[in-house]
């Protein structure tokens, strides 16, 4: 297998290259003005490790895959065209009002509570750019009022006069009958034909999101339209650049659904958060290959802490209404939770309880923690970590940033020690304990809300601060095993290198599978099967268009079910793709009962209230060859006790006095090496803190296993051929 996968982040462009049995990681600074430059630099760095020319590599790889934050950045910077919105008359304010709660979407709980301070985000489509179209469809798709085309043409012209550069059409109940949305598109094309310079992109909402919910569907379409140009130009210029460098296949773009597709089958909206999602996907692959069981993936950086969930059995956890930047949308996206906790989280004195508070506000990278000595005046988690002895003042980030211990001490004394009358180390320990608890609570809430016990999980810790706080988090959760994954500094790119081509199509409906009033079970199998067939066909066409072979295409049927009139929709993987007899219906009901009971508690199931299908969803995919990561578990036979590079005093939670702690250089630790805590292992990108009561074993590709005393390394059922680096 020969493959290139790239994750373009805000600061770095990460590259992961597979060249037969060689796995290469490389990095370069992201070049925002022209993404191709950063990409080429990263790729060239990788090629150099193999002594290959970039053109040779690109001419031979089976695919080049991209995960990018381009769309996220454009949204944050509000960099996009002037979008006009056509909605059903009477619904002109749905988007400006954002369901009321839109003011708080994407904010922390404290900000959400503060109603006097509430402010909605600046609109992507301001009110003057919204017009109501005279038409109306009812809930089942009957036309209540025909489309008034004369009125429509007037509205379109008015919006164009106001400077519209792109149109979104989002009419009520269009997912059950899109005839009016299609007609509006035709009228727009009649008025502004595609071959003329005045032509404008048109996004029909029912094409972007197939589920009911006029606000979330319209938001999705707006973001899609807003990002379309910037994504199209950014990605197509990358593709063009690749073609000029001997790459002849279509470029593949990573989707936030956990799959990927060619540019011509990608909505701009699907690329948002694709980097973090690729990280979850890498975790999923790793868990499967290394037979890790349930995994919680955590990415702790400078400002935020991302949590993703990977469980055994292939059940994927989606957000069907994720929040993108500040807007709730309606696209299936791999479930991710972000907390305001990172190295830059600011520490404050909590006057009421006489203790410390950490986050969610962050000093970010500018000015950054006080110890950076770049003007930061508030103590942060990184300052506390430095004062506890975990970080090396001279060798932080491979010596790129020199840390000032005196600054960290000064700000912590001013903010905490003077008020609490304690030493800086006591204060720093409080900070460490609190921030670890905050992250542990986030993980615990997340897992338990999905019906899982954290103690049955392996904690996957990546990101700049993950290996530093992993033990602290695991201590609070009762987790015995932490894995710092292989290739952890380009982990999302690894995920991009393992994804399959995938398309999701879904249909909203109101279908009683058990009607408790009439006490009837669903038996119109042909009607159900027809919907599934149509969704399969849509996915099949997507994949055929991208050159996939018909015989390689697989489908996966999911149903969103609910009891009675609940809001909860439990996604059940249907055992069969078609309904043929009552046994099939009962199998779905039983599966629903099991999944629901696991999530909300045994006995909470309420079939007496009836069971409804709200969404039928078909995933269409083609499985491609993947990277072999099964060899990350040390064999257990060859263990060495490496030589430390030095030692220093570190302070730990639960220990009154500092402990003499040995330090190691990560690069010099061989596979199979075992380091007992307390210890600090320093790598170029992060610091591994092995707390007392823990040990670390080093695996292939830089993987590091943190094991609590008494805990065992997972046993791999089958051994695979090792890949060479």
């Amino acid at each position: 297998m020969k493959r290139v996968a790239v994750d373009i982040g805000g600061t770095f462009t990460d590259c992961f290259m597979v060249w037969d049995e060689h796995y290469i990681e490389s990095k370069a600074l992201t070049t925002h003005h022209n993404l191709a430059l950063g990409f080429r630099e990263a790729l060239q760095a990788g090629c150099a490790k193999l002594n290959l020319e970039m053109l040779d590599v690109l001419s031979q790889v089976d695919s080049v895959r991209y995960a990018t934050t381009l769309g996220t950045n454009a949204l944050i910077q509000r960099k996009g065209p002037k979008v006009a919105l056509l909605v059903t008359a009477g619904f002109e304010s749905s988007v400006p009002l954002s369901r009321g709660r839109g003011y708080g979407e994407g904010l922390d709980s404290r900000s959400q509570q503060d109603l006097p301070g509430a402010c909605r985000p600046d609109a992507l489509v301001p009110i003057p750019m919204i017009a109501g179209v005279r038409q109306r469809m009812d809930a089942v798709g009957n036309i209540l009022m025909e489309l008034d085309e004369d009125d429509l043409r007037e509205k379109i012209r008015d919006l164009v006069d106001r400077g519209a550069q792109s149109f979104v059409v989002s009419l009520i109940n269009s997912v059950v009958n899109p005839v009016h949305e299609r007609r509006v598109q035709e009228v727009l094309l009649e008025e502004y034909p595609e071959h003329l310079l005045g032509a404008m992109p048109i996004v029909m909402a029912h094409k972007v999101a197939g589920r009911k919910g006029e606000y979330v569907r319209t938001s999705s379409a707006i973001i899609d339209a807003f990002l379309h140009d910037v994504m199209y130009h950014g990605l197509s210029s990358l593709e063009l650049n690749l073609r000029e460098s001997s790459y002849k296949k279509p470029m593949l773009v990573i989707h936030n659904s956990g799959g990927m597709a060619q540019l011509n089958s990608t909505d701009a909206l699907q690329t948002i958060h694709s980097g973090p999602v690729a990280g979850v996907s890498a975790s999923e692959h790793l868990a499967r290959e290394a037979e890790l069981g349930n995994v919680i993936c955590t990415d702790m950086g400078g400002t935020s802490f991302d949590i993703g969930l990977v469980v055994e059995g292939g059940v994927k956890h989606y957000d069907f209404n994720p929040v993108i930047e500040r807007w709730m949308v309606s696209v299936p996206m791999i479930h991710l939770v972000t907390l305001g906790a990172g190295g830059g989280s600011i520490v404050r004195y909590d006057r009421m309880y006489g203790t410390v508070q950490v986050g969610p506000t962050s000093a970010g990278s500018d000015p950054g923690p006080a110890c950076y000595d770049r003007g930061g005046l508030k103590p942060t988690v990184t300052d506390a970590d430095l004062l506890l002895g975990y970080l090396s003042a001279d060798n932080y980030a491979a010596g790129a940033i020199k840390l000032k211990t005196a600054r960290a001490k000064q700000v912590l004394e001013e903010e905490i020690c003077d008020v609490l009358d304690c030493s800086v180390q006591e204060a720093a320990l409080m900070v460490k304990r609190r921030v670890d608890a905050n992250m542990a609570n986030g993980i615990s809430t997340e897992l338990r809300a999905h019906g899982y016990d954290p103690r049955s999980f392996t904690l996957l810790a990546y990101g700049g601060n993950g290996p530093l706080h992993g033990c602290g988090i695991a201590n609070q959760l009762g987790i015995d095993r932490i894995l710092v994954p292989p290739f952890c500094s380009v982990f999302s790119a690894v995920g991009a290198g393992n994804m399959h081509q995938l398309h999701i199509h879904e249909r909203s409906l109101f279908m009683w599978i058990f009607d408790s009033n009439s006490r009837k079970l669903y038996n119109d199998y042909p009607a159900f099967n027809k919907i599934v067939e149509e969704l399969e066909e849509a996915g099949r066409l997507d994949l055929l268009r991208q050159g996939m072979k018909r015989e390689d295409i697989r489908h996966h049927l999911e149903l969103d079910l609910r009891y009675g009139n609940q809001l909860a929709q439990t996604t059940v993987v249907a055992p069969k793709m078609r309904l043929e007899r009552m046994d099939d219906v009962m199998a779905i009901i039983n599966q629903f009962s099991v999944d629901y009971g696991n999530r909300f508690g045994k006995g909470s199931e309420a079939p007496e209230a009836g069971i409804r299908i709200n969404t039928i969803r078909v995933q269409s995919f083609v499985e491609l060859e993947t990277v072999n990561l099964s060899n990350i578990i040390p064999s257990g036979t060859v263990k060495s006790s490496p030589k430390p590079t030095g030692s220093r005093k570190c302070y730990f939670v639960g220990h009154d006095k500092p402990l003499e702690t040995q330090t190691y250089d990560h690069a010099s630790l061989p596979v199979g090496a075992e380091v007992k805590g307390p210890a600090v292992i320093v790598s170029a990108t992060t610091t591994y803190l092995v707390e007392p009561g823990w040990r670390v074993e080093i695996g292939e590709h830089g993987a590091a296993w943190f094991l609590r005393d008494g805990a065992e390394m997972p046993k791999l059922g089958k051994k695979s051929k090792a890949a060479k680096v």
């Binding site: 709660r101 959400q112 009812d138 009891y563």
Partner: protein, 756 residues
């Protein structure tokens, strides 16, 4: 017998009598000792011991965070599993209570007032059922409750309360509350305004055991299902609340396992005590003084009368005193009465969301604040008066307090949120009921009530239709999902309405219009329940305007769905256009106050209401003209408003501002104001009277004298003047009888005129 012997006999007899009375109680009604107290309970013995053993504040904070995460988790679960529209769109909450019953930790989302009132039924259960051999409190039990007289807002909100035991000892309580809607009242939807007695308000559940061994008791569930119009909803949500409480119980027990029982108890208790101290400290920094405010509720929901909500807010040292004496007397046969506990719950909400949103959501926040009311006033109603629509008096009380607090906060050195004009305060929505397109009998309400307009801030405009006063992050929902489940169409759905604004230097957030019509049901109806149709219920701040008054509009005798098919151009997507242009021949166009009792709506008839605006801040003449132009561009205001009210001069075609002319126009208006003004003594002479005007249906004190409470006249019942310490409940005549009397009088006059 000697004196000593006499005394012994007397004591013994007293004991006998007391024991006899204690053993022979006919009925355990609400306990005033529980209901009148809003402070946290005295430390229990268990708490005293725990607090001496466990003193580390940092560790206590970790425990509270852990419990907070558990409460949030169970909240999310409740929201997901709940079947009531209220549960789906944010009208719910979960919380953890101390063993004594004080709310200690509460979910970050949801309606705080629900949880802040559940301590009353928990304390009732502790006091009366714990040692009662026929009831008792055991592991796995669960108690249901909805009667506001035992602690709640009104009986559409149902709570489930679960005791948490550890090693056989009662250590905490878990509670979950949801606005359920339907409850078997005289009108569907759970908030009857036609109820003339508590017995017409639907289920009135004093706290009783409905769960044993973590199982709902089927006989009781069946009884409750049989008592409401929505048996499916009643069953589903009882189960949902039970499992949300169980999830919280699990979290509490896991916390105890990890940190120890003493640590848990100490954290729960210390959190409350610290919070109480912090509130007193914050209050102490306010300027000393008294601020008076008043809001008039213009309706009982059955008739338009003036119900006075009177407030004197005093700050003395570290005490804050909300003195509501002088407010209207209670109404014996109207459901707009507020129980004192409900009032306090709502005020707690004010301080936690609008004044100190940074504080933890627990019972101690309101503990240091004192509330004074006249007994048997409409803010301290008695046992037999209905209260299903208590919001009609306690929301105005909230607003009166918000207004007064803002005046203190203006010169307060440390603020914890923005200084703000009053939020909109009415539940402007459709309550509905009938048979759905899926052939189910239902009764509930739309989430449209969650879009109350935000008040203007001291530095920026208010946010349009953003959140109800009682719940941050509540949800307006999605109309497509509503139409899937219930048989009516919102033809105009939450569309911002021109000039529906409280004007000011910074304007309040605007409200929207809604036009609804029944479609696809054999039997369907609507009701609405708001005050503020004749007189605004939301004032402005520091010269800002109040919200407008909002009528209910109806078009009957038409099927607009036929019009849409046959002559669609006739349909107007605006209340103002429909009411002014009257496009449907033969139809009737009427306006009403928004206290509409449940009414059957035929297919295609229009019911039109408006969501309200938040109050404005500061003088309109100080508004930045560019902001006025921006409002014009967004069609939020009319040209008339821009010209006449904000006094700006601009080109109406291009909206180009003429700055100089605007300055002159504003200077001229200032001069004109001076000319229109009168000296204060002349104003007093003209407007100040000893009593309310004789024909004014007025309820409450008049002027500064709060010792006399007036009531009436209304509907032929003459005015009464009562001493504030001897208020008697007011009986209102049946509006139908009043109307008949008016018509008969008119007939008489016509006959006399004819004969003459």
């Amino acid at each position: 017998m000697g004196k000593m012997e006499n005394s012994e006999v007397a004591d013994r007899e007293k004991m006998l009598i007391d024991q006899f009375l204690e053993d022979n109680v006919l009925f355990l009604g609400p306990d005033p000792e529980i209901m009148l107290e809003h402070d946290i309970s005295p430390r229990s013995e268990m708490e005293e011991v725990a607090l001496t053993k466990y003193v580390d504040p940092a560790a206590q904070a970790l425990i509270r965070d852990r419990l907070q995460a558990g409460a949030n988790e169970s909240f999310e679960m409740l929201e997901q599993m709940g079947a009531a529209p209220g549960a789906k769109w944010g009208d719910l909450i979960t919380g953890v209570f101390t063993a004594s019953g004080d709310l200690s930790v509460c979910s970050a989302g949801g309606v705080l007032i629900f949880a802040s009132l559940v301590h009353h039924p928990v304390k009732f259960i502790n006091k009366y059922w714990k040692n009662d051999p026929t009831v008792g409190i055991r592991k796995g039990d669960g108690f249901i409750h909805n009667d506001a007289r035992y602690g709640n807002i009104h009986n559409t909100d149902q709570s489930l309360i679960l005791p948490v035991f550890y090693e056989g000892k009662l250590v905490a309580w878990a509670g979950a509350t949801v606005h359920e809607g339907e409850n078997g009242a005289i009108e569907p939807g759970g908030m009857p305004s036609a109820a003339e007695s508590v017995y017409e308000e639907g289920l009135k559940m004093s706290p009783f055991k409905v769960v044993e061994n973590y199982e709902l008791k089927k006989d009781l569930v069946t009884f409750l299902q049989n008592s409401t119009r929505e048996p499916k909803l009643q069953f589903e949500d009882m189960k949902t609340k039970l499992f949300a409480c169980r999830r919280m119980e699990e979290r509490v027990l896991a916390t105890i396992e990890e940190f120890g029982l003493d640590a848990f108890i100490a954290s729960m208790r210390k959190g409350l005590e610290d919070c109480k101290v912090e509130v007193a400290r914050r209050v102490s920094e306010w300027p000393e003084g008294t601020v008076r405010s008043m809001v008039i509720a213009d309706s009982t929901l059955r008739e338009n009368v003036m119900v006075k909500i009177n407030l004197e807010l005093r700050k003395e040292g570290d005490s804050l005193i909300c003195d509501f004496r002088g407010s209207s007397p209670e109404f014996a046969n109207r459901c707009n009465n507020t129980l004192l506990a409900s009032l306090k719950g709502m005020l707690a909400q004010l301080f936690l969301v609008f004044v100190w949103p940074d504080l933890p959501r627990n019972q101690a926040v309101f503990a240091p604040i004192k509330v004074i009311v006249d007994p048997k006033s409409t803010l301290c109603s008695s046992y037999h008066t209905p209260n299903a629509q208590s919001m009609m008096t306690f929301f105005p009380a909230f607003t009166a307090t918000q207004l007064a607090v803002a005046k203190f906060m203006y010169s307060c050195p440390e603020k914890f949120s923005k200084l703000i004009a009053p939020w909109h305060n009415m539940i402007r929505t459709f309550i509905w009921g009938g048979i759905t397109q899926h052939n189910e009998m239902v009764g509930n309400l739309c989430a449209d009530l969650n879009g109350m307009g935000g008040g203007a801030r001291s530095d920026r405009d208010g946010e349009h239709a953003i959140a109800p006063i009682f719940a941050p992050m509540a949800d307006l929902g999605e109309q497509e999902l509503n139409e899937e489940e219930v048989p009516f169409v919102q033809i105009v759905s939450k569309k911002l309405m021109m000039d529906n604004q409280a004007f000011g230097k910074y304007r309040g957030g605007q409200g929207y219009e809604m036009i609804a019509s029944s479609l696809g049901s054999p039997l369907w109806g609507f009701m609405t329940c708001c005050i503020g149709s004749k007189m605004s219920s939301v004032p402005g701040l520091f010269g800002g305007y109040g919200a407008p008054a909002y009528p209910l509009c109806k078009v009957k005798g038409v099927d607009v769905f036929e019009v849409m098919k046959t002559d669609p151009r006739k349909f107007e997507f605006s209340i103002v256009d429909i009411m002014n242009k009257r496009p449907f021949a033969g139809a009737s166009y009427t306006t009403h106050h928004t206290g509409m009792q449940f009414e059957i709506a035929k297919r295609g008839e229009l019911y039109m209401i408006t969501q309200g605006a938040g109050g404005g801040y500061g003088d309109v003449l100080e508004r930045d003209p560019n902001l006025v132009i921006a409002d014009l561009e967004q069609k939020l205001i009319s040209h008339e408003t821009a010209r006449e009210l904000y006094c700006i001069v601009y080109n109406p075609d291009t909206l180009l501002l003429d700055r100089d002319a605007t300055e002159k126009a504003r200077a001229a208006e200032r001069m004109s104001r001076k000319k229109r003004g009168v000296p204060f003594k002349d104003f007093v002479k003209k407007w100040s009277t000893q009593e309310p005007p004789a024909d004014l249906p007025f309820y409450g004190s008049w002027g500064r004298d709060r010792s006399v409470i007036y009531a009436g006249p209304y509907g032929g019942v003459p005015r009464r003047a009562m001493s504030a310490d001897a208020i008697e409940a007011i009986y209102m005549p049946n509006p139908r009888d009043v109307r008949i009397a008016q018509l008969e009088q008119r007939i008489k006059e016509l006959e006399q005129s004819k004969n003459a």
